[in-house]
């Protein structure tokens, strides 16, 4: 395939970032917004074309005779050649998952660009906002098409930086500033693990290249055999450390604390970055490295356990939040954990690695319906000027488009057929049940909770009791409603895509079989969750309050997110700051600064003491010189005689 179009996919958002970032202040808001949206629209068309070429052209570059989808490098340039062995390349890799991401990212990004034309209208720094959106799109696209793990790491940090910039977009709000710092520091801390993992892995395998690493992991990893560090094999260590980077970006416990706070950013940003694209980078990373993970089953176990615990935790917390964006944030954490679990249970012997495909399928559908839900939440916030459901209620009459699309989003995430979430979640549950019944039941419970908390906010927003609105809430303008409608349509039909034909482990076609037992159970559980939510929240009543009162400690704990922030505060402020930082600061001030200051003080004192010698009186100088010369003469004479 020609390299022009793939190169343009990356170059257009980057160029748009530079254009809007450098010349944006000279443009009107409208020009900047339309320009950014058009740029993204072009990328959308080009990416669709590329993905279409990849999946359907039948080009031998992309699909073998036997029907196996191949990994194909479109271009790969030497970027930093340190030594003949250590070369960092930047390139464009097309394979089933990157082609899928080429559909997901531009779609969501374009919808968000379009939506923001209405949502962000009149905001100060509108051009800057569009510049950052373009930067983010560029980084995310660069991340998914990375040909080697180092390129991925570079773009990984770039998405982190653009996420930081966008969370802190309202930089005059202290809460937004601290949220952006929190997001950056937490993910940066995780990326440290990622970097160490990369270095360990590439030290042993002598390569950064994904294709070399994943095409024949057994022989590449042979060099790590027997190498251990602190009683654990270095390969396991490297894979767990690489996963740690994914835990940070994908907000897995215990590194999830930044994502709920990241909701301080503008809502379309939450939809794009903190729901659909950036936060799934961790899942994408594990999927990308999956053949290597498969060599180390213990690290996949780790992924599974972390994912399962996070899924349950986030679902429980989501049931007790008041801010609707926080509910969606925890729901995102929970759904990403679903994908992680799915990867964690993927084994070749269980339905030919069904978990891998299910995870990617869920990534795809989740991106669509979660972006939809966030954009819907944005429309609600736009209408009532509050993030809390307490300021909403009975909105179905006033905002019909938002109501219908939000309902579709809720049905999709709850897993009600025929909406998209049902199919992908069902595949995940089949994969999990195939691996272990215990985790299967666990994840089914989480799926039930998902249905409950989504319909809890749905009923509280659109039914319940109508508060006093200062002015009549109404649907957003056309540019805001259109993305909602498109995404709702996609969320309705996306489940019918035969995903197994496009994305599977090793690229062989996989025929999806409906497992009616699992599907029936999960639909039943979801319906129970929905009806329970309907029972509690349809009309204003005191049942929810009585229920909360009956186990107040649990409600409070969940509302406070099980005190994770407090624990972090305690560890950082009390232990790290007092135990480590203060001694270091003391050492810096007392010993390092002290010795420098001491030197300065001694010099100063000495110069004060001897400065009277430099009187400017010539005769005094001569006298001193004479005395010195005589002394030298006497000493010389003494020595000679």
């Amino acid at each position: 395939m020609d390299f022009t179009i793939p190169l343009l996919i990356l170059a257009i958002p980057l160029g748009m970032f530079l254009l809007l970032g450098l010349a944006g202040m000279k443009m009107s808001h409208k020009t900047a917004g339309v320009l950014g949206t058009l740029g993204m629209g072009t990328v959308l068309v080009l990416s669709y074309f590329t993905a279409f070429q990849y999946y359907f052209s039948g080009n031998p570059e992309f699909i073998s005779e036997a029907g196996q989808r191949l990994q194909s490098i479109i271009f790969n340039v030497d970027w930093l050649a340190f030594t003949p062995n250590l070369v960092i390349r930047l390139g464009f890799l097309l394979d089933p998952i990157s082609a899928m991401m080429l559909i997901v990212i531009p779609t969501i990004s374009f919808m968000v660009h379009l939506y923001s034309l209405g949502y962000m209208k009149g905001e100060k720094g509108f051009q800057r906002y569009y510049a950052f959106l373009s930067l983010f799109s560029f980084s995310m696209l660069g991340l998914v098409v990375a040909t080697n793990i180092f390129q991925m790491y570079i773009f990984w940090e770039l998405v982190g930086a653009s996420s930081y910039l966008l969370i802190g977009f309202f930089y005059t709000l202290p809460s937004a500033v601290s949220a952006s710092k929190k997001a950056f520091i937490v993910t940066r801390f995780a990326d440290l693990g990622f970097l160490v993992g990369i270095l360990i892995l590439s030290f042993y395998t002598q390569t950064f290249d994904f294709i070399t690493l994943t095409s024949d992991p057994g022989s590449v990893l042979a060099s790590t055999a027997g190498a251990t560090f602190m009683g654990c094999s270095v390969l396991t260590l490297a894979m767990v450390l690489i996963f740690m980077g994914g835990m940070g970006k994908s907000a897995m416990m215990p590194l999830h604390i930044w994502l709920p706070d990241a909701m301080e950013g503008p809502t379309p940003v939450s939809a794009l970055i903190h729901a659909a694209t950036m936060v799934v980078a961790g899942v994408y990373l594990v999927a990308r490295m999956f053949p290597v993970y498969l060599q180390v089953p213990s690290s996949l176990e780790f992924v599974l356990v972390i994912g399962a615990i996070t899924a349950l935790y986030a679902a429980v917390v989501a049931c007790c939040q008041i801010d609707i964006k926080r509910v969606l944030a925890f729901s995102t954490i929970s759904q990403i954990a679903f994908m992680m679990v799915s990867l964690g249970v993927a084994r070749p012997e269980i339905h030919e690695c069904l978990g891998y495909m299910a995870s990617m399928f869920h990534l795809f559908t989740h991106a669509m319906f979660k972006a939809l839900l966030f954009l819907g939440a944005g429309a609600l916030i736009h209408a009532v000027h509050s993030n809390n459901y307490t300021a909403m209620g009975g909105l179905r009459k006033y905002m019909p488009i938002t109501h219908i699309t939000f309902l579709i989003g809720c049905l999709a995430i709850a897993g009600i057929p025929p909406f998209a979430g049902f199919f992908s979640k069902d595949e995940i549950l089949v994969a999990v049940y195939g691996y272990s019944t215990f985790w299967g039941i666990w994840m089914s419970c989480v799926a039930g909770l998902t249905a409950f908390y989504m319909f809890r906010i749905y009923y509280l927003i659109f039914w319940w009791n109508e508060p006093d609105y200062h002015h009549r809430p109404h649907d957003g303008e056309m540019v805001m409603s259109l993305p909602l409608i498109i995404l709702a349509a996609v969320s309705t039909v996306a489940g019918f895509i035969h995903f197994g034909e496009f994305v599977t482990w090793q690229g062989h076609e996989y025929q999806i079989h409906m497992d009616y037992v699992v599907a029936g159970i999960s639909v039943a559980i979801a319906l129970v969750g929905i009806f329970f939510a309907r029972f509690l929240y349809l009309k204003e009543n005191d049942r929810p309050r009585r229920m909360a009162d009956s186990c107040r400690w649990l409600w409070t704990a969940a509302n406070r997110r099980f005190y994770w922030d407090e624990i972090y505060m305690f560890i950082t402020h009390k232990i790290i700051f007092n135990g480590i930082c203060r001694p270091i600061a003391w050492f810096d001030r007392a010993v390092i600064d002290g010795s420098m200051n001491g030197l300065a003080i001694v010099t100063n004192k000495a110069s004060v003491a001897i400065k009277n010698l430099q009187s400017g009186r010539v005769q005094q100088y001569v006298l001193l010189y004479l005395i010195g010369a005589l002394l030298l003469a006497v000493i010389t004479a003494w020595c000679v005689l």
Partner: protein, 103 residues
């Protein structure tokens, strides 16, 4: 009576000491300059005399003296120029007062 080396060195030493004494005690810059010239001339005498008595065959000491005289003349011209400028500024050529230049 033979005129030996010592007959030249003693007046030269006296001249040199007078120069030092004058340089250290006089406050008038012109007087100090004169003292300086006195010291230089004492040294010149030494050069010539040592050359004459110790190495009668060679001329280095003589040449050295000629150069020293020439340089001393140039140096005196500069010193006088400086002193005249100080006098123009201060109406005074006391060396103690000139120490204010260091600020």
């Amino acid at each position: 009576m033979d005129i030996t080396l010592i007959y030249y060195l003693v007046p030269s030493l006296i001249m040199f000491c007078c120069g030092i004494y004058g340089f250290l005690t006089r406050k008038n810059m012109i007087a100090m300059l004169i003292s300086l010239e006195l010291m230089l001339n004492a040294i010149d005498i030494n050069f010539v005399v040592f050359n004459r008595f110790l190495y009668p065959g060679s001329m280095e000491g003589m040449f050295f003296t000629l150069f020293a005289i020439a340089i001393a003349a140039a140096e005196t011209a500069i010193a006088i120029a400086i002193i005249i400028n100080i006098f123009r500024a201060d109406k005074n050529i006391n060396v103690e007062d000139a120490s204010q230049m260091k600020n």
